[in-house]
């Protein structure tokens, strides 16, 4: 019925039009920064870049933002992938920039840390300032958040790595000034890398550049900025990074930004209450009341939960790591089944003993009761433990989920104790014959052993389960 025309501009089929105009072209026009074509402000074309960097193979555009444009490239001689970051052309127009650039770039190049994106080279190529950096094959935290692949447990594992990087940088006298989810990368192997260190200062991107229209991308989303950074952008110190980290942490845990009067993380998600303090103290408006060093943040987090497994990005899970987590999970399942089953079996045995023994009526009754309860609790504990562990194994795609949750731990332990206690009680009340004495001995050992085992297993596998 409707004849589809082809847009002369973009070649797309115009099945529908907005007042006779190609909608795709219209939207594209809405996106362009400058109303002219080409030249400054816009993203340089791949060919232009390739011409200026003949020693590189420009592969694709990775992203564009206020801090410049990043390309994925290859160094043929070294046969490695690199990231080429080209600063906005306007940056180069400031005559004082050249000197600042060299100074800052040298400082950045000196930063050598496993959690900081490394700088290989920097300079100027026909008027465009650039950095040649480590290529990180992965996603940034923003992308991971959006894909819904960030659990609280992962957040707890990532943040200490960020702290390491930040503390190192601060020790070297470099403040990041723009910590936000877009700048925190996680590669396919789960390594955390922070990007764009110090660029905010280099480019002088203070508040002046934030406008509603006219920017290509949300510029340094002010939400992550420390209050003192917004008021006096030039006089901030390393503690501004701590504030930003707090905001990022909050967002990772709850999925939301801490706006206005916000709720503490434990009120929104199943996380340890002690994390509230960490987050809130990081985000103290008064600089003096904030953590004074990033290492303090890290220590505080580590005190809250001991994380057993190494964090993995949700990009892929390698077979080794699945196996690594599977083994302890299987072990605990087996333990739970064993212990519970044992209690159950022993409870049954006790009941049988009591019935068959020549002990007085009341003793028989209590022996029977003790056996029955032991059976119930022991069996129940075993069942719950087995089911829970199976759930974890079945959901092994999410490698950060550890065994059980706090309350489940307690239930399991409680069941075990009750099972043992019931059995013991039964024994005490039943016959005081030799059978009873031996049973008592045996069960005492079992109860103590069970309790000790569950207590021991709880410690490394205590978890902060996140609300999905």
């Amino acid at each position: 019925m409707t004849t589809t025309r082809q847009c002369p501009q973009c070649g797309a089929e115009m099945a529908e039009t907005a007042e006779g105009l190609c909608p795709a072209c219209l939207l594209k026009r809405g996106m362009a920064t400058k109303t002219g074509s080409g030249s400054s402000g816009n993203v340089p074309v791949l060919e232009e870049i390739a011409k200026r960097f003949p020693q590189l193979e420009i592969l694709e555009l990775l992203g564009a933002g206020g801090m410049g444009v990043v390309y994925k490239a290859r160094q043929p001689q070294l046969d490695r992938l690199v990231a080429l970051k080209v600063l906005p052309a306007e940056a180069g127009r400031d005559p004082a920039f050249a000197e600042r650039f060299t100074r800052e770039a040298r400082a950045l190049a000196k930063l050598s840390h496993p959690n900081i994106v490394g700088v290989y080279d920097f300079g100027q190529a026909e008027g465009l300032y650039y950095f040649l950096m480590e290529f990180v094959d992965g996603a940034n935290l923003r992308q991971m958040e959006r894909a819904g692949k960030l659990t609280a447990a992962q957040a707890l594992a990532i943040v200490p790595k960020i702290c390491d990087a930040l503390q190192y940088a601060h020790d070297e006298g470099v403040v990041h000034r723009d910590i936000k989810p877009e700048n925190i990368l996680v590669d396919k192997k789960g390594r955390v890398k922070i990007a764009d260190f110090g660029l905010a200062k280099l480019l002088g991107k203070a508040q002046a550049d934030f406008t509603l229209t006219g920017t290509q991308q949300a510029m340094g989303t002010p939400h992550y900025m420390a209050p003192e950074q917004m008021e006096k952008p030039l006089s901030v110190d390393h503690r501004a990074d701590i504030y930003s980290l707090g905001v990022v942490f909050y967002e990772m845990l709850t999925g939301e930004l801490p706006l206005g009067r916000f709720q503490p993380p434990s009120a929104k998600v199943h996380v340890d209450v002690r994390l509230d303090e960490v987050v809130l103290r990081s985000m103290e408006r008064d600089v003096e009341r904030r953590y004074q060093h990033v290492s303090e943040v890290k220590t505080a987090i580590e005190r809250v939960s001991v994380v057993g497994a190494i964090p993995q990005g949700q990009i892929s899970s390698t077979p080794e790591t699945v196996a690594r987590d599977l083994l302890p999970k299987l072990m605990v399942t087996a333990m739970a089944v064993l212990m519970g089953g044992l209690t159950m079996a022993v409870g049954v045995a006790l009941a049988v003993f009591a019935i068959l023994s020549e002990s007085p009526q009341s003793g028989q009754f209590w022996g029977w009761m003790g056996g029955a309860f032991g059976c119930l609790f022991g069996g129940g504990g075993a069942l719950i433990g087995a089911i829970n562990s199976y759930r974890q194994i079945a959901g092994a795609g999410d490698l950060m989920t550890e065994i059980g949750s706090n309350w489940l731990d307690r239930v399991l332990g409680g069941y075990a104790l009750l099972g043992g206690a019931s059995v013991v009680a039964g024994v005490v009340w039943s016959s005081l014959g030799s059978a009873g004495r031996y049973s008592m001995l045996l069960f005492g050992v079992i109860v103590v052993g069970q309790s000790a085992l569950f207590w021991a297993l709880r410690r490394p596998y205590r978890v902060n389960q996140s609300k999905e």
Binding site: M1, T2, T4, C7, P8, Q9, A12, A15, E16, A18, E19, L21, C22, P23, A24, C25, L26, L27, K28, R29, G30, M31, A32, T35, G36, S37, A206, Q207, A208, D209, F210, T211, L212, T213, Q216, Q217, A218, T221, P222, H223, M225, P227, M230, E231, E256, L257, P258, L259, G260
Partner: protein, 247 residues
């Protein structure tokens, strides 16, 4: 204004601008059903109802059913505000609207069918089916048609606003002639020719085109801003809609 530095819809001190858009008004009102929020929501629905209608039709409902259904949905939405859902979405009006409709279809349409409220405002216009019959007959899914139609509704709205703006300045004819420069590059559109038609020099046309494009860009972003939670989401929404049209 001390706390507004943290609010998503405010722009930091540098720009000295406090931006309120319709969707941010609705989001900010949250649970409290203020008159302002209700009006804002209603206005949004007035503009963007058609994509929903198209979605419902593409799901297989008859024209009559679709008309009733969509109207009923909007009546309910505006009356009850779906307060709880608005709270949690904190995202874009577009996603919120579609999600609410899906929820409505799944859970509430049966009940609502029995007692049609109608609502005081007719959102779904009577020519809805006429418009729908003009849709391309290909097998685009309901979700896709919703997205595409949303993008087109947005563009229609923006162009309408621009035309009205130019007409108010007595430049209606100019707008009609220059409209085409919004999609084309200079090489394909001879400015001299346009100039001849409206009695302007080529240079003047160039300036006028530049101005039109600027106004257009502002208008597009402003209109998108009406439907998202904060200025930082405008770019993302633009790209999303562009992708929706391209596929």
């Amino acid at each position: 204004m001390a706390d507004t530095g943290q609010r998503r819809d405010s722009v930091p001190p540098g720009a000295r601008q406090f931006v309120t858009t319709r969707w941010t008004i609705v989001l900010t009102a949250g649970r409290s059903d203020t008159m302002q929020a209700r009006v804002a929501l209603e206005e949004l629905c007035q503009t963007y109802w058609y994509p929903l209608y198209a979605y419902v039709r593409r799901q297989g409902h008859s024209p009559e059913d679709a008309q009733d259904l969509t109207q009923e949905f909007f009546a309910k939405l505006i009356a009850k505000h779906y307060l709880g859902d608005v709270d949690r979405s904190k995202g874009k009006f577009r996603s919120f609207l579609l999600a609410s409709l899906k929820h409505f279809l799944a859970n509430e349409w049966d009940k609502a069918r029995a007692q049609k409220r109608g609502g005081s405002q007719t959102i779904v216009s009577l020519d809805a089916e006429t418009r729908y019959s003009l849709e391309p007959a290909d097998e685009v899914s309901a979700d896709k048609i919703f997205e595409r139609r949303w993008a087109l509704t947005l563009l229609d709205e923006v162009l309408k606003q621009l035309r009205e703006k130019y007409a108010a300045d007595g430049k209606g004819k100019l707008f009609e002639q220059l409209k085409v420069t919004l999609t084309g590059e200079r090489s394909t559109i001879p400015y001299a020719e346009i100039g001849a038609r409206i009695g302007m020099t080529e240079g003047a046309v160039e300036v006028a085109v530049h101005r039109l494009r600027q106004h257009y860009r502002k208008a597009v972003r402003a209109e998108i801003a009406e439907t998202v939670a904060g200025p930082e989401e405008v770019e993302e929404e633009l790209r999303y809609l562009f992708a929706a049209l391209s596929l």
